[in-house]
Amino acid sequence: MIEVQNLRKQFKLTRQQKKEIGKTAGDGTLEAVAGISFMCQPGRVFSLLGPNGAGKTTALRLIATMLKPTAGTILVAGFDTVKQPLEVRRRIGFLTGTTGLYDRLTPNELVRYYANLHNVEKSAFQKRREELFSRLELHSFANRRISKLSTGMKQKVSIVRTIIHDPEVVIFDEPTAGLDVISARSIIELIREFRAKGKTVIFSTHIMGEVSLLSDDLAIIHKGKLCYNGSYSAFVAGMKTKSLEDEFIRFVEEA
């Protein structure tokens, strides 16, 4: 479960950023997240939808304890992200679209590294690695340097890295960005599996197709504020335009 209450995040603008923004720079801060509240339930997929620069990544980074909120609270599996960050980190898996991997390690070494960081017991690790490598067909690449792998393969390694410790909460930040259709589909399937296993899943995207395929709950974020927060079925039922895309644009424009 993720509970977000009145979450705010302000960034101090650098001199360069102030120059670029010009007069609108105001007091020299940028409010990336401006008082949002939502809840992600176990066994449901929560989609955070928004255009580029809307505040999706900042919101997910706040949930994942990478950033500290300026105001508001976030509870992940009952733990406060500011007061108990290590407890939160033990329970989350975080996957970004930009496959952040160590090129000079092999998938085997990389996965073992993250398992060790999460204190996964040796026997549990071996079982889980075997299961995930088989599921994602990674065995034949397990001892090859990551730099030699294709983008799709790297993303699969990223997935294993994210869930090797079997987290309760999985956070995906635009997980299909830059992937081909087949790789993107495997991620969609994986998210469905997580839901089936009762995990809490939150993912950010700007691809409407993914939203329709996966969402149980949906929030639309624009300029750091939520324009919609509710169930996906309610969103579809209340549509005033013909397509999801048009409806999304309508929400953003009216915000």
Binding site: T14, Q17, M66, E87, G100, L101, Y102, N116, L117
Partner: protein
């Protein structure tokens, strides 16, 4: 603590697989000294042998003394060139048609007869052949002068020792180790400090700016380890590679000296004695806090950069700042005292000289340690405050 060890282990494996690090940390320090010592010794010996064996073309101009001419003519390695006008001597040597010229003054014989000094002008070019031409001919002139003096003493019926009013017996109490220590000791800090810095540089850039550029820092920040554990894990690897690089450079120096072959055995023994375990351990004890300081400085600068390239451009000028105190340590007259012992890097440079010469004072050495430990502590403190600050990690 297990998180720290896990990070350290992974970063070490990752770093040792980085080609740039291996080149800067192992290949360059290991090969540079055997190469420099080997190549320069070989070239210098070969040039010197050539200059020694070369037949010198020498002109005798003016009314040359017959005894001097005879001495030159008797030498197989000297070819006398006749009919060179005095005003052409300079240009002939300049254009390599002559190696040297002796111009006898008109009154040379008269002056000798009057028991005065006869003047000979000696033209040569000191920039050629490490001055060997000058030395070879000067030797002949000295023998000629000895001959003339002996003749004078005989003529005056004087004992040759009569002109020696004082007999100076020089007793240098400085041991060969001390003398070499003060010279080689000035050179060693160059190796230590520079390779220590270079060895730390690439890992520090890769483990901080590189991690940011790859986006791996984000995944690391979501793992259940504290920021301090992440920093210390990386810190450990940067310190290890810095010290490793300095030690490898000493090994390279050892191999280079061993291979040189032309160093007199007594000097070789002293040099190898300098590289003994005790001296190395003392130098290492200076290096450890210095490398911790470098690691803190480099990791802090590196984490500010958005990319590997940006970090490189920030850190490269720091290299010069590091070399400067080492260079100051080489200036004659700059010695280890209560003031210089407190100046970072310069104190390592000066203390190294004293350690190698075996003349280090315990009080000053303690002062150097205190200064370095304070500096290392400050560096660690500052980097722990700045490293992993969200406005630094997610800068821009």
């Amino acid at each position: 603590m297990s998180g720290l060890f896990t990070i350290f282990k992974k970063e070490l494996i990752d770093t040792l697989r980085d080609r740039r690090t291996i080149i800067a940390m192992v290949v360059v320090p290991l090969l540079i000294f055997p190469l420099i010592i080997g190549v320069t010794t070989k070239i210098s010996i070969s040039q010197s042998q050539k200059a020694q064996a070369k037949t010198l073309r020498v002109a005798l101009i003016g009314n040359a003394d017959a005894r001097f001419k005879e001495r030159l003519a008797a030498r197989a390695d000297i070819h006398l060139i006749a009919n060179v006008p005095e005003d052409s001597a300079r240009s002939f040597i300049q254009t390599d048609r002559l190696d040297a010229a002796f111009v006898f003054m008109e009154d040379f014989a008269q002056q000798l007869q009057n028991l005065r000094a006869g003047e000979i002008k000696f033209y040569f070019k000191s920039t050629d052949d490490e001055n060997i031409t000058k030395r070879r001919l000067q030797e002949i002139v000295e023998k000629f002068e000895e001959q003339l003096l002996s003749e004078r003493f005989r003529q005056l019926r004087l004992d040759e020792s009569a002109i020696d009013a004082v007999q100076l017996t020089e007793i240098d109490i400085a041991s060969v180790k001390e003398k070499l220590g003060k010279t080689i000791g000035g050179f060693l800090p160059y190796i230590f400090v520079i390779f220590c810095f270079l060895g730390s540089m690439y890992p520090a850039i890769d483990l901080a700016a590189g991690e940011k550029e790859r986006g791996t820092i984000e995944t690391l920040l979501t793992a259940p380890v504290s920021g301090l554990e992440i920093l210390l894990g990386k810190f450990g690897v940067v310190v290890l590679t810095g010290i490793g690089s300095a030690l490898i450079s000493i090994a390279g120096l050892y191999v280079g000296i061993r291979q040189a072959g032309e160093i007199p055995p007594e000097i070789l023994d002293v040099i190898l004695g300098i590289l003994e375990v005790k001296s190395i351990l003392m130098l290492l004890s200076l290096l450890l806090p210095l490398t911790i300081f470098f690691a803190g400085l480099l990791l802090t600068l590196s984490i500010f950069a958005k990319t590997f390239k940006e970090a490189q451009s920030i850190i490269t000028p720091v290299n010069i700042i590091v070399i400067l105190p080492v260079a100051i340590g080489l200036i004659p007259g700059i010695t280890l005292n209560t003031t210089t012992a407190m100046i970072p890097i310069l104190n390592v440079s000066l203390a190294t000289k004293e350690i190698i010469a075996g003349t280090i004072e315990t009080g000053l050495l303690i002062e150097v340690y205190v200064s370095l430990i304070i500096l290392a502590g400050l560096s660690l403190l500052v980097s722990s405050k700045l490293f992993l600050r969200e406005d630094v990690i997610f800068r821009g």
